[in-house]
C-alpha cells in the first residue's frame, strides 16, 4: 500500500495541478451551460429543466443578425488573408525572395489592438470611408496577416528545396510547380491558419468596437446585453457557440497531425 503510494507520488502533484487549472478554466463554462437549462432566471437557484431559453433564442432576430454579421466579417477577412498568403507563396514558388520584408508583419503583434483600432478609426475618418462591416473586415485582416504571413513563410522555407528542384528539372514551369507542388504541400498549413484567422475575427471585440460604426457583430451585441444584466438567452447562445468552437478546434486538431502552426 505504502509502496503504491510512493510510486504514485511523483505523478500526484502534476495531476492535482492539472486538475485545479482545468477546474478553474471550466468552472464558469459549466455553470453557464447548466443555467441555460434552468426554468427560472439566474439569481434564483436551480428549479427544473427546460428548453425555454433555447426557444426564445431562436425567436430573437437581433442575435442572429449579429451572428451572421460576425460570420460575414470572419469569412471575408479570412478569405482576404489567405488570398494574400497564396500570393506570397506564388511569389516564393517562382523564386522570389521576401525574407527581408517578413519583420514588417511583426508590428501587428507588437502594437496593442486598442492602438491599432484608434489608428484605423482616424485613418478611415480622414479618408471619409464610412464605418461598417467593410472597415471591420479590413481591421481583422491585419490581425490575421500578423501571424499568417510569418508562419506560412516559415513553413514554406521548411519544405525540402529538392522537391522544387526536382519539379523544375523534370521540366515543370513555375506555374506548374506552384499548382502541383507548392500549393498542395501548403494546403494543411493554409487551412489551419485560415481557421485561426476566422476564430480570432469571430471572437474579436476591440477592433470591432472602434471600427464598426452602427453595425453590430456578435461580440458587440454580447457586450451591450451584458450591460443590461444577465439573461438566460445569452447562456443558450453560449452553449451553441461552444458547440461551434468545439467543432472548429476538432477540425484544427485533425489538421495539426499534418502541420504544426502552434
Amino acid at each position: 500500500m505504502l509502496n503504491a503510494f510512493k510510486k504514485l507520488r511523483p505523478q500526484l502533484f502534476p495531476t492535482l495541478f492539472l486538475f485545479l487549472v482545468f477546474f478553474f478554466l471550466y468552472l464558469p463554462i459549466i455553470i453557464l451551460l447548466v443555467f441555460s437549462f434552468n426554468t427560472r432566471e439566474f439569481p434564483a437557484p436551480w428549479e427544473g429543466f427546460s428548453l425555454k431559453w433555447y426557444y426564445e433564442l431562436f425567436h430573437t432576430p437581433e442575435i442572429w443578425v449579429a451572428f451572421f454579421n460576425s460570420c460575414i466579417v470572419g469569412i471575408a477577412s479570412t478569405f482576404i488573408c489567405l488570398t494574400l498568403a497564396v500570393f506570397m507563396i506564388y511569389f516564393l514558388a517562382s523564386g522570389g525572395k521576401i525574407g527581408k520584408f517578413i519583420p514588417i508583419f511583426y508590428g501587428n503583434l507588437i502594437i496593442p489592438e486598442t492602438v491599432l483600432a484608434v489608428g484605423l478609426l482616424s485613418y478611415f475618418s480622414l479618408m471619409h470611408i464610412p464605418l461598417g462591416l467593410l472597415t471591420i473586415i479590413v481591421a481583422h485582416t491585419l490581425v490575421g496577416l500578423g501571424f499568417t504571413i510569418p508562419i506560412l513563410y516559415i513553413r514554406y522555407r521548411e519544405l525540402d528545396p529538392k522537391i522544387f528542384e526536382a519539379s523544375q528539372t523534370l521540366g515543370a514551369s513555375h506555374k506548374q510547380t506552384f499548382t502541383k507542388i507548392s500549393l498542395p504541400l501548403m494546403t494543411p498549413a493554409l487551412i489551419a491558419t485560415g481557421l485561426v484567422t476566422f476564430i480570432l475575427s469571430f471572437d474579436d471585440f476591440i477592433l470591432a468596437y472602434f471600427t464598426s460604426g452602427s453595425s453590430l457583430t456578435l461580440s458587440l451585441y454580447l457586450l451591450s446585453s451584458i450591460r443590461y444584466g444577465i439573461s438566460p438567452i445569452i447562456n443558450a447562445l453560449a452553449s451553441i457557440l461552444l458547440i461551434i468552437t468545439c467543432t472548429l478546434v476538432f477540425l484544427f486538431f485533425s489538421l495539426k497531425t499534418k502541420t504544426r502552426i502552434l
Partner: protein, 324 residues
C-alpha cells in the same frame, strides 16, 4: 589514374562549352529572344506585384494609420483644419499625475498578469507535455476550447461565479467559511482572475509547443548525471525554452497593457487603465488630438518597456549560456 580522370573531365567540360558556343553562334532565334524579353520584364513585374500585395496591404492599413496617429498628435491646425505647424501642445495636458498614474496602473496590471500567467502557465505547459501521457492531446484540446470561445462570454460566465448569489459565495457559505456573501465583483481581485483566465493560453501555447519538441531524454540524462531538480531546470530546461517564454510573455504583456473591457466590466469604476482612457477619449468626448496624443504617449511607454524586457532576455540568455 586520378590525373587521367581529371583531365578527361576537364576535357569533357571544354567540349560541352565549345558545343554551347557553337549553339549560340548558330542560333537563328537569338534576335527573336530579344523581343520576348520585354514580355519577360512585364511578367517579372507582374510577379513582383503579386508578391508584394501582402506588404502593400500591410503598409496601407497598418503603417499609414499609425503614422497618421503620430502625425495628428504632433500637428497644429487652425479651427478650419488648416495646417499651421508642428507642436507638442497636445501633450501638455497629459503631463500631470492623473494620466501618468493611469499609464503606471496599466504597467502594473500587465506586469502582474504576465507574472501570474507565467507561474501558472509554465508548470501547466510542462505537465501537459511530460505528464500528460495519452491524455496530452485531450488536455490541449480542452485548453483551446475556452481560448477560442467568445471573449465577452468569458466575462459573462465569470459573473455567475463571482456574483453575490453566485457559485463561489454559495460554496463558501455552505462550507461555513463565511457567514455573509462577499463582494468579489468590482474589485482588483475579479479583474486579475479574469485577466489570468483570458490570457493564460497565450502563455501556455508557445511554451508547450517548445517543450513538445524538447527531447525528454535530455532531462533523464541530466538526472542520471547527478543533477537535482533545480540544476536541471536551470541548466537544461530554461535555456532551451527561453525564447518560447519570451514569446509567451510578449503575447500576454502587450494586449493586457491595452485591455479595457475586463477592467471596465469587472473592476467597476475604481481603477482606470490606458485602454479605458483611450476608449473614453476617442469614442466619448470629442477631444480629438489630445486623446490621440495620449494613445501615442502610452504606446511609446509600452514600446520602451518592451525594449527593456527584450534587453533583459538577451542578458539572461547570455548569462545562462555563458555559465553552461
Amino acid at each position: 589514374m586520378l590525373a587521367k580522370r581529371k583531365r578527361s573531365i576537364t576535357g569533357e567540360i571544354k567540349l560541352s562549352e565549345a558545343n554551347l558556343n557553337i549553339d549560340k553562334l548558330s542560333n537563328p532565334t537569338l534576335t527573336k529572344k530579344k523581343k520576348t524579353s520585354l514580355w519577360k520584364i512585364f511578367k517579372s513585374e507582374a510577379l513582383f506585384t503579386i508578391g508584394s500585395t501582402p506588404i502593400i496591404w500591410q503598409i496601407i492599413f497598418f503603417y499609414i494609420p499609425l503614422l497618421i496617429l503620430v502625425a495628428t498628435s504632433l500637428v497644429k491646425t487652425s479651427t478650419s483644419g488648416q495646417f499651421i505647424g508642428l507642436t507638442l501642445e497636445h501633450f501638455y495636458p497629459l503631463l500631470n499625475t492623473t494620466y501618468l498614474t493611469i499609464i503606471f496602473n496599466s504597467f502594473g496590471l500587465s506586469l502582474v498578469t504576465t507574472f501570474l500567467c507565467l507561474i501558472i502557465g509554465f508548470p501547466l505547459a510542462y505537465f501537459i507535455a511530460f505528464n500528460g501521457g495519452r491524455l496530452k492531446n485531450v488536455l490541449l484540446f480542452l485548453l483551446l476550447i475556452p481560448f477560442w470561445t467568445n471573449f465577452i462570454l468569458h466575462i459573462y460566465a465569470w459573473f455567475f461565479v463571482l456574483e453575490k448569489h453566485g457559485f463561489l459565495n454559495n460554496l463558501l457559505l455552505d462550507l461555513g467559511l463565511i457567514s455573509s456573501p462577499l463582494h468579489f465583483l468590482n474589485s482588483t481581485f475579479s479583474v486579475l482572475v479574469m485577466m489570468v483566465y483570458f490570457y493564460l493560453p497565450f502563455m501556455v501555447l508557445p511554451i508547450f509547443s517548445s517543450l513538445e519538441r524538447f527531447n525528454p531524454l535530455l532531462l533523464e540524462a541530466s538526472y542520471d548525471l547527478g543533477a537535482n531538480h533545480r540544476q536541471t531546470l536551470q541548466k537544461i530546461l530554461l535555456p532551451l525554452t527561453l525564447s518560447a517564454i519570451r514569446a509567451g510573455i510578449f503575447l500576454v504583456y502587450i494586449p493586457s497593457f491595452g485591455e479595457f473591457v475586463i477592467p471596465e466590466l469587472m473592476g467597476g469604476d475604481r481603477n482606470f487603465f490606458v485602454g479605458n482612457v483611450i476608449s473614453l477619449f476617442i469614442l466619448g468626448e470629442k477631444t480629438g488630438p489630445v486623446g490621440i496624443a495620449f494613445t501615442v504617449l502610452s504606446t511609446l511607454c509600452l514600446l520602451i518597456s518592451l525594449f527593456f524586457i527584450n534587453r533583459f532576455f538577451q542578458y539572461l540568455s547570455k548569462k545562462i549560456t555563458g555559465e553552461a
